[in-house]
Subunit: 146 residues, 2 copies
DNA sequence: TAATATTAGTTCAAGTTTGAACTAATTGTC
DNA sequence: GACAATTAGTTCAAACTTGAACTAATATTA
């Protein structure tokens, strides 16, 4: 029964954090989805839509919409994938890179007081906790699919 | 910097769990919002919309819509609050109670393999850690509001 | 106790997300 | 190499969520 208690607390932790984050992200002129995509692209080499969808856990339909928005803002490029004619490669434009650095740092600065309230040991422990949760969910999904 | 790593893993853990849960909840004929409200009401005495909104972290506008849906399904009652003429009290109908028990147990059964992969010690540790995160977010919100 | 501020809940338009159906390209198999 | 099965990405309608404006009732205060 305390499994559910744990899940509820995980959900509440996420929701509180998300609420706090998204409120701020909106003031920067982005939706959480757009922010998610920018941050994901900002830390990695260019990637396909599928990869992006997998990393952000978005459904593909939503990703298309979000990429359209970012394209209109001139923050990303969509170039055909030379290896796979079906696919495209998404990358940040120069403006997109600048935006990434700017909003990422702004976001970081905003959250700094929260970040500083965690010690390194706590963070390490939490990261291990989450890794363990993720592993277990993975296992469950594997069983569930069968 | 590992603060962000921790946050990313928290987000991923939540999203994975949510995805898994909501997929199943849909097969039961409910949205996550509806499920949230039913489960919140199922464990507590009747409460006001404000209280419900606070517990589920929904905005009030959304809660109204969700309650409308549950009302149409005959799962909740809205009765005027005798103490406060502005407010209403939301409670589960008998059908709502039955539904709560049914979907709650079904959900539990579905997740059982996952639940069993956590030991009691792990769960206790996780719960303590989430409590600590929640406390810190609370503190941050208090500072931020000033 | 009248005027003002706050709070409870609703409404509604705009924006976001989902999921299923679709097109086009690639992979696998015989 | 042709045919079926799979995969990449898009489209679109329906559902969901948000936030701001609104009505009505209660608290505050002077």
């Amino acid at each position: 029964m305390s499994f559910l208690k744990m899940v509820r607390k995980l959900v509440t932790s996420y929701q509180s954090l998300e609420k706090l984050g998204s409120k701020y992200i909106r003031t920067l002129g982005f939706t959480s989805g757009q922010f998610d995509v920018i941050v994901t692209l900002g830390n990695q080499p260019p990637m396909s839509c599928s990869e992006l969808a997998e990393k952000t856990l978005m459904v593909k339909g939503n990703l298309t919409v979000i990429l359209d928005g970012l394209l209109k803002k001139g923050l990303i490029n969509k170039t055909p994938n030379p290896i796979d004619g079906r696919g495209i490669i998404v990358s940040l434009t120069e403006k997109g890179e600048e935006t990434f650095v700017r909003i990422f740092n702004a976001h970081l600065a905003y959250l700094e007081p929260l970040a500083k309230s965690f010690s390194d040991e706590e963070l390490t422990e939490l990261i291990n906790n989450f890794d363990s949760i993720l592993r277990k969910i993975d296992n469950f999904n594997r069983l569930d699919r069968k």
